[in-house]
C-alpha cells in the first residue's frame, strides 16, 4: 500500500461531538411501526429465541449439576420436566431452538453466499417449511410420551 495509510488522509472529525439534542425529545404520539422486511421480523424472533434459550441453558446446567448432589435430588427435579405443563414448555423450547437454529443457518448462508443474499426471501420460506416439518416430527411423538400412562 504505497504511501497510503490512515494517517496520510485527513482524519475524520472526532466522534462523540454531537451536542445533546436541542429539543426535548418528542414524546407521543409515537410513529408507526416499521413495516419491515421478513428479514426484520425473523431477526426479532431470532433475538427473542436466543435470549430464551440462553436463560433455559443457565437453568438446565444448574439442574443437571444436581447429579453431583445425589440421585434423589436430580430425579426430584427432573421429575418436574415430565409433567404435562412442562411437556408443553419443552415443545416451546424445541420450537424456539428449532427456529433459532434454522434461522441461524439461513443467516450463515446469507453471510457467506451471494446466492443466499439474492434469494433471501426464498430462504426465509425454506426456514419456515423446515421448521414446520421439524415440529411435525417432534411434537406428536413428544406429547405422546408426556401424556402416556
Amino acid at each position: 500500500m504505497p504511501g497510503i495509510s490512515a494517517e496520510t488522509v485527513p482524519s475524520p472529525a472526532p466522534r462523540g461531538k454531537y451536542p445533546l439534542p436541542r429539543l426535548t425529545k418528542p414524546k407521543a404520539p409515537a410513529g408507526t411501526i416499521y413495516r419491515g422486511n421478513v428479514g426484520m421480523w425473523s431477526w426479532v424472533l431470532h433475538r427473542i429465541t436466543g435470549v430464551a434459550i440462553f436463560f433455559f441453558l443457565l437453568v438446565h446446567i444448574l439442574d443437571t449439576a444436581l447429579v453431583r448432589v445425589s440421585p434423589e435430588a436430580y430425579n426430584a427435579v427432573i421429575g418436574t420436566y415430565k409433567n404435562p405443563i412442562m411437556g408443553l414448555g419443552e415443545v416451546a423450547l424445541v420450537a424456539a431452538i428449532g427456529l433459532h437454529a434454522l434461522n441461524g443457518l439461513r443467516i450463515i448462508l446469507v453471510d457467506f453466499w451471494a446466492w443466499g443474499t439474492k434469494h433471501q426471501k426464498l430462504l426465509q420460506w425454506i426456514v419456515v417449511i423446515l421448521w414446520i416439518i421439524l415440529l411435525i416430527g417432534f411434537v406428536p411423538r413428544h406429547l405422546m410420551n408426556v401424556f402416556s400412562e
Binding site: 418528542p26 431452538i97 410420551n145 400412562e149
Partner: protein
C-alpha cells in the same frame, strides 16, 4: 424491538486498538452455530425422542450417558459452545440496548460471571461425576453399577 429512538446522538465510543472482538465474535457465532446444530439436535434427539422420550430421563439415564467418554466429550462441547455462543449473543444485545454505560458494564459483568461459573461447574460435573455413588438405592442407578 422495532421501536425507535428519536435522538441517537450519544457519543460514539472511540475505536481501534486491541484485539478485534467484534470480528472474532461474529465468526465464532457462525462456526459455533453450525456445530451446535449437530450437538443440540443430537442431544435433543437422544434425550427426548429415543425410547420413551422425556419419560426416560432420570439419574440412571444420565449416569449411563456420562460414563461414556463419547457423551462426555459431546456434552462438554455442547456446554462450552452453547454457553459462550449464548453469552456472546447476550453481550451483543446488551450493547444494542444498554445506552447507559454503567448499566451496560453491570449487565455484561453479570453475563460474564454467570458464564464463567457455569462453565466451571458444568465441566466439573461432567468429569467428576460418579455414576454409582455409594449408598444410593440401586434402583436409582444405572444398571451397570450393580453388575460390577
Amino acid at each position: 424491538m422495532t421501536t425507535t429512538i428519536e435522538s441517537p446522538r450519544a457519543p460514539r465510543t472511540v475505536r481501534r486498538g486491541g484485539v478485534n472482538w467484534e470480528k472474532w465474535g461474529w465468526i465464532y457465532m457462525r462456526v459455533s452455530g453450525v456445530v451446535l446444530v449437530v450437538l443440540i439436535f443430537g442431544h435433543l434427539f437422544v434425550n427426548l425422542m429415543l425410547g420413551d422420550g422425556v419419560k426416560a430421563l432420570d439419574f440412571a439415564f444420565v449416569g449411563g450417558k456420562l460414563s461414556n467418554p463419547f457423551w462426555q466429550i459431546w456434552d462438554t462441547l455442547l456446554l462450552w459452545l452453547a454457553l459462550i455462543h449464548g453469552a456472546n449473543g447476550m453481550r451483543t444485545i446488551t450493547n444494542d440496548y444498554a445506552h447507559n454505560r454503567l448499566v451496560g458494564v453491570v449487565l455484561k459483568g453479570a453475563i460474564l460471571a454467570a458464564t464463567v461459573v457455569l462453565l466451571i461447574l458444568g465441566t466439573l460435573v461432567i468429569y467428576t461425576f460418579d455414576p454409582c455413588p455409594a449408598g444410593s438405592p440401586a434402583d436409582l442407578l444405572a444398571s451397570f453399577c450393580t453388575a460390577g
